[in-house]
């Protein structure tokens, strides 16, 4: 690396002079820079995004490349994706590497808010537009023209339907006391704050009797569950990442405690992973977000969810990475990249941004409608509330709220 650095001293000067002359000619490849977490707490939400993106790159190159409007021809893609091992420090260096050394044309952030957060100031500093698959931290979008969130809605609106459902159907069913347990990170912490706001309206009829943040690396919930049970809530809302949900649901099953309403994020997002680790019985009756993995949106671009699932599982058999919403998020991101290249007037970051925002409201993929607010936050589809029911060796998820989308009636646990 140091040798490369020293060589750079010599090599960069003529290169920098040569660049503008070549700019009008079509490049031999379009470089897409990306990071993934091969290990650590974010691996389970990051690897599926990476493999979804990679699947698209492979497919596109097999057909001769992506159509690039700026040069009016198909150009092959090159995916440069480094492993940040879930470390923000490593990720920061690698984002810099992608921008300054690899000089990527399109920069795609890692999955999740934490690993995206370090990319935001770096991309902004280098005036590089950041394609953000699932980093939903609300602060990313505050007067920052260099970002767009592509596949997840911004975290502040995720839990809206949980609150609405509890205030509506919940109160009617006799639910009064709510316990809130969340992991302290940008993704779930923001949702907890939003949820608190939604629930604490004066006439909601609901009362928060337990409110506790725990570190994201918490792996044993036995005592916390006991503490929650001691507060005697009717509804328990557990906001955590995949690993948290697995540990929480397993410990809950082992403890023998039951609650009338139980919500967890990932049964509806990484369904296969949860079924594999918790078992269908452990997920029985759990309320969760329903993503495009469980709702069949009608895509106008790209495959349907069912088709994509088949492709993904075929391409990644034996990788140990389960299919789930993050795989869809990765592929949705890829489709946005594809459409951006097909619409941008040039590969300048400003034109890329213009093209991405131009797609807003018009692009319909397997992830539903792609729509950005003026800050670049995703507002296309609000995730409905669903409920898990065991079905054979797997599970089925029914949408229970909002009522106009409902595919089943909510079932509350016995008091």
């Amino acid at each position: 690396m140091l040798r490369r650095a020293l060589l750079g001293l010599v090599a960069l000067v003529p290169l920098a002079l040569a660049r503008p002359v070549l700019a009008a000619e079509a490049p031999s490849e379009i470089k897409i820079g990306h990071l993934h977490a091969g290990s650590g707490p974010y691996a389970s939400i990051s690897m599926p995004v990476y493999l979804g993106l990679k699947l698209w790159v492979d497919q596109t190159n097999a057909s001769g490349g992506a159509f690039v409007k700026a040069f009016n021809k198909k150009i092959p893609l090159k995916l440069i994706s480094y492993d940040d091992q879930s470390s923000t420090a490593t990720a920061a260096t690698l984002y810099n590497q992608l921008i300054t050394q690899d000089k990527v044309d399109l920069l795609v952030a890692d999955s999740g808010s934490v690993l995206t957060s370090v990319a935001v100031p770096i991309a902004r500093e280098h005036k590089q537009f950041l394609f953000d698959p699932t980093g939903t931290g609300a602060t990313f979008f505050q007067n920052n023209p260099y970002i767009a969130l592509l596949a997840d809605p911004v975290s502040t609106i995720w839990p809206k339907y949980i609150a609405d459902f509890l205030k509506d159907d919940g109160v009617k069913a006799g639910i009064k006391k709510v316990a809130l347990l969340y992991s302290t990170n940008d993704f779930t912490g923001t949702q907890a704050t939003a949820l608190r706001g939604f629930l604490k309206t004066p006439d909601s009829g609901l009362e928060i009797v337990y409110d506790q943040g725990v570190p994201t690396n918490t792996s044993s919930y036995t005592v916390l569950i006991n503490n929650i049970a001691a507060a005697d809530p009717d509804a328990v809302i557990a906001l955590g990442y995949t690993g948290n949900d697995i540990a929480f649901l397993r410990n809950l099953q082992d403890s023998g405690n039951k609650f009338r309403f139980l919500f967890a994020i990932y049964p509806g997002i990484e369904t296969d992973e949860l079924v594999k680790n918790v078992g269908p019985q452990g997920l029985d009756g759990v309320f969760t977000y329903v993503t495009s993995a469980a709702i069949a949106y009608k895509p106008e671009v790209g495959p349907t969810e069912a088709e994509f699932r088949k492709m993904f599982e075929k391409a990644n058999a034996g990788s140990g990475v389960a299919y789930g919403f993050n795989a869809i998020a990765g592929y949705t991101t890829a489709l946005v990249l594809q459409e951006t290249l097909a619409h941008a007037d040039s590969l300048s970051q400003a034109d890329l941004r213009k093209a991405v925002f131009g797609l807003s409201g018009k692009l319909k993929t397997l992830d539903g409608t792609f729509e950005l607010d003026e800050h670049g936050a995703q507002i296309g589809e609000i995730t409905p509330l669903g409920q898990v029911h065991p079905e054979g060796k797997g599970v089925k998820i029914t949408v229970v709220y909002p009522h106009d989308l409902a595919t089943g009636k909510p079932v509350f646990g016995k008091p």
């Binding site: 020293l6 750079g8 960069l12 091969g38 492993d83 810099n96 934490v114 302290t184 990170n185």
Partner: protein
Amino acid sequence: MRRTVGRRGTGDLLIALVVTAIMAALPFGYSNELLLFNFVTFLALSQGLNVLYGFTGYLPFGYVGFFGAGAYGFALTVMHLNWPPLAAMAAAGVAALILAAILTPLLRLSGAYFAIASLAAAQSVYEIVANPALEDVTKGPYGVSLSGVFAPMFSYQVGVAVLLFSLVVVVWLRNSRFGLALQAIREDTVSAAMAGVSVVRGRTIAWLLSALIAGLVGGVYAWHISVFYPDTAFNIQFSIFATVFVLFGGATTLIGPILGVVILYGVYNTIGITVPQYFQLIYGVLIVALVLFLPNGLVSLATRRGIRVP
């Protein structure tokens, strides 16, 4: 005798200045300055660890605690008091010094116990800083954003200044009576004490100096990256890397740790990025082989033959 020491000192100082000059100049030719900055960070951090381990024999596994204290000392004064970055750098150093003063009793423990107790101390500081209960003060686990003072080039050069400071401290220790006294304590506590060397005072000074360097490095690191989480600032990897760099090159010397950083961190950035597991494997094998076959580091290949290594 004095003259040779003086001449050696000048030579050592020259090396320090050359290393500093190279690191100061590199970003003008190589644009991933964050990568270069990481080199600066580890060069300074491993010299700071060298001050303690190389000259007193105490191996602080929890060295990152001072680094983190510095990072948060910097961040808190910027966030809450709106201090300018250079004043906040002073706060970073002071934060690490305060922590070191609190932890001075750890010096009563011998080798292995000290190493592990210092790690536990660093973890404790992390648990406090990252606690959601302190969100109003430290931002807890949600991390710190210092976009207001973000200044990559300026902070890089301040980092180089911190590096120079750490190198000069090591040059001084290698060429002063105080440094020799410290080494005498390390070799034989009892005889050194009988020879009139103040064991407690000497160790405490090395401990504080070492903490000060880590605190300054932590402060400038916080400034340079501007967005970070408690588990970034207290990442045990900083201790581990610094320790391995020092051991690999050879403690108690000036160029040992430099060699360690340039070679190993260089390898890390070529292999480690693409296949971190293989890098970890190589690291592990290197450490085991080093302890078994070359416990005094690379430089001992030369010192064994009677060649003086700066």
